[in-house]
Symmetry: C2
Subunit: 217 residues, 2 copies
C-alpha cells in the first residue's frame, strides 16, 4: 500500500463487511495477489448484493474471465463448481446477480465516464501506459478511495432459456476407454473424440484417455 | 455423516493437510454443500499435487465444470479469475496439474474399474438410481474410506499452443456504448454485438449496454 496506508487523513471504503485492507488479504489468499480487477470487483459484487432484495436465491454472471469471477466466488455462495456462477467472455467488467427463478436482477459495471481525469484507474483500465509504467500503489489507493463511485448499475432480466438447473443427463460407459460420460456427448466420450489439450506421455497407464480407440494412442 | 461419524472403528483418509471432516466444513463454506464430486475432487487434487515435483509453478485443467473446479480452487493457488485454472467441458472427473512452462504434468481421474461392486459411489457416479434414492451418508462414508484408492493417474504433456499467458490485447472505446473493450472483439464491444444472456428492464440507466446502437434498445 506504500505511504498511503499509513496516513489517517482518509479512509478506504469497506467492501461489504470487510475493511479494504482485510479484503486485500483475502484476495492474496484466494487469488494469489490483490489484482486491481479483483478489488474493484469486490465493490461491484457488494453493490449488486445491496440492490438484490433480501431472501432472494440468486445466481451470478461475470462478463469477463479476468479477476471478476473470483470476487463473486469470495463474496457470494456462487462458484464455478456449484454452477451458480457463469462466466461469459464479453470482455467488460460487468456482472449480474439475478433471481434464479424469475431471472430479474441487477447489472453492475465499471463506468469509465465516472473515472476521474488523469487517474491511475483510467490508465490501468484503458491500458494507457504499459503495465510496468503503471503506479500500482496509487492505483490501489484510488480504488479504495473511490469504491462504488465509479460503478453504474441497473435492472436486467435474464432470458428464460438461460434459467433452470444444469443437468448432465444420462450417464453411459464409453466403448473407447471404459469410463463413464454423459450420453449426450456422443457415441464415445469427448476425450476419446480427441478433445484434450494434452498428449499422453510414456508411462501413462492404460485406462482413462489412453486407449486403442483414442486418436492419439 | 449419520451414524458413521461417531464410530472409532475406522478412520477417514486425510485430504492433504486436512482431515476429511475439516475438508467437509471447508466445502460447505465455499461450495455451499459437501457435494460428493467435490470430496472426491479433494483427493484428486492432492494426488496430483503429490506427484508434481516440488517448486514447479503449475496450472490446472478441470475436465468437467461439475464440482471439480472448486476442489482445485480450494486446494491450489489456481482459480478461474487468476487464469491458472481452465475448465473444459469433457464430462469426466479428470484433472491435470502441469508445469506452466514445459506443459509436463499429471492427469488424475476417477477410475470406475477401481470402484467396489455394489458400492454407493458406483451408484452415484453411474447414476444407477435416481438421486432421491441414493444414500448420501453411505456415499460420503465410502469416499472418506476409499480416498485415492479409486483414482488412476499418469503423466501428460499439455500441447504448446495451450501454454503461455492469456492477454486481453489492446483496449479501445466502443462507439456503441462508450465503454472500454478488447479491440480483438470487433468494431463494437461484444455486448453491443448482442451478446447478452439478459434484456434490460425499465429504469436501466443509459450507458453500459443500453444504448441506441444496441439491438435490444
Amino acid at each position: 500500500m506504500g505511504a498511503h496506508s499509513h496516513s489517517d487523513s482518509f479512509s478506504y471504503r469497506p467492501i461489504g463487511k470487510y475493511d479494504f485492507e482485510e479484503f486485500i488479504d483475502m484476495a492474496i489468499r484466494f487469488h494469489n495477489y490483490p489484482a486491481p480487477g479483483l478489488l474493484v470487483g469486490g465493490y461491484m459484487v457488494e453493490e449488486a448484493k445491496r440492490q438484490i432484495p433480501r431472501g432472494v436465491l440468486y445466481e451470478a454472471i461475470a462478463e469477463t474471465g479476468w479477476c471478476l469471477p473470483d470476487a463473486v466466488q469470495m463474496l457470494t455462495p456462487c462458484t464455478i463448481g456449484n454452477g451458480w456462477l457463469r462466466v461469459v467472455h464479453h470482455g467488460v467488467y460487468g456482472l449480474v446477480l439475478y433471481d434464479k427463478f424469475t431471472g430479474e436482477g441487477i447489472r453492475v459495471w465499471l463506468d469509465i465516464a465516472k473515472f476521474p481525469k488523469d487517474s491511475e484507474i483510467r490508465t490501468w483500465y484503458l491500458k494507457l501506459r504499459p503495465k510496468i509504467e503503471q503506479d500500482s500503489d496509487r492505483l490501489r489507493h484510488e480504488i479504495g478511495m473511490l469504491g462504488s463511485d465509479i460503478l453504474s448499475s441497473g435492472p436486467v432480466k435474464v432470458r428464460k432459456q438461460h434459467l433452470g438447473k444444469r443437468s448432465k443427463g444420462r450417464i453411459v460407459i464409453c466403448p473407447g476407454c471404459g469410463e463413464a460420460y454423459p450420453a449426450k456427448d456422443g457415441n464415445v466420450c469427448k476425450i476419446c473424440q480427441g478433445n484434450t489439450l494434452y498428449e499422453p506421455m510414456p508411462g501413462m497407464p492404460k485406462g482413462g484417455f489412453l486407449t486403442g480407440s483414442h486418436p492419439e494412442a
